[in-house]
Amino acid sequence: MIVKLDQRLYEKMLAQAKEEFPNECCGLVAGESGEDIIEVKEVFPMTNLDASAEHFSMDPKEQFAVVKEIRCLGYDLLGNYHSHPFTPSRPSYEDKRLAYDEGAIYFILSLKKRDEPVLNAFKIKGRSEVTKLEVKIVEGGEFNE
């Protein structure tokens, strides 16, 4: 399973992560799911209600509004993203504990090395079993398998 992410959308997530640093940022990810390729079409920055460097939670009211916007655009809600300002790009104990949606893709953007941000995507089953997905960042929608 490959996750295709346009460079523009990656830059959008990164800009938000840097702007909200040292707090964690978060957002929703929308796109289209194919059999072998998942294509991210848009990312939606969200408010981190916790305003914390160590955890995040989204505002349900904001989530409902964005989910409806995603539907209007004809996309599916693929999952969410958040930043790890000081830790690696992997699901933490807390990330796994709170991964209630097994169908969601969890993107984690690490700013541990500020000059070398790392983005990974995961599926989390049973709030414990983590599968890393392959993320391809592409320029202007160009993509070769």
């Binding site: 978060c26 160590e54 409902f64 969410n80 790890h84 933490s92 990330d95 709170l98 949606d101």
Partner: protein
């Protein structure tokens, strides 16, 4: 009855509470789900009592959060 659930029209036989609807939708942990009924976010304590009626619009989504 017919309701709009997460943007799709679905049909159920008879009446349902929100809790019963979530169960039918395979939601294991309703305490970690937010539900909007006809545009109003419901208190989780009301899931067991709140009836869903024909023509209602229901949205539900999982809590999203985490830590580092």
């Amino acid at each position: 009855m017919k309701i709009t659930l997460n943007g799709n029209v679905v049909e159920f036989e008879g009446g349902l509470t929100v809790a019963e609807l979530l169960k039918k939708e395979d939601v294991d942990m309703p305490d970690m789900v937010s539900v909007e009924l006809n545009g109003e976010i419901l208190d989780r304590d009301s899931f067991g009592d709140q009836l869903v009626k024909d023509g209602d619009t229901v949205e539900f989504l999982y809590f999203m959060g985490g830590g580092c």
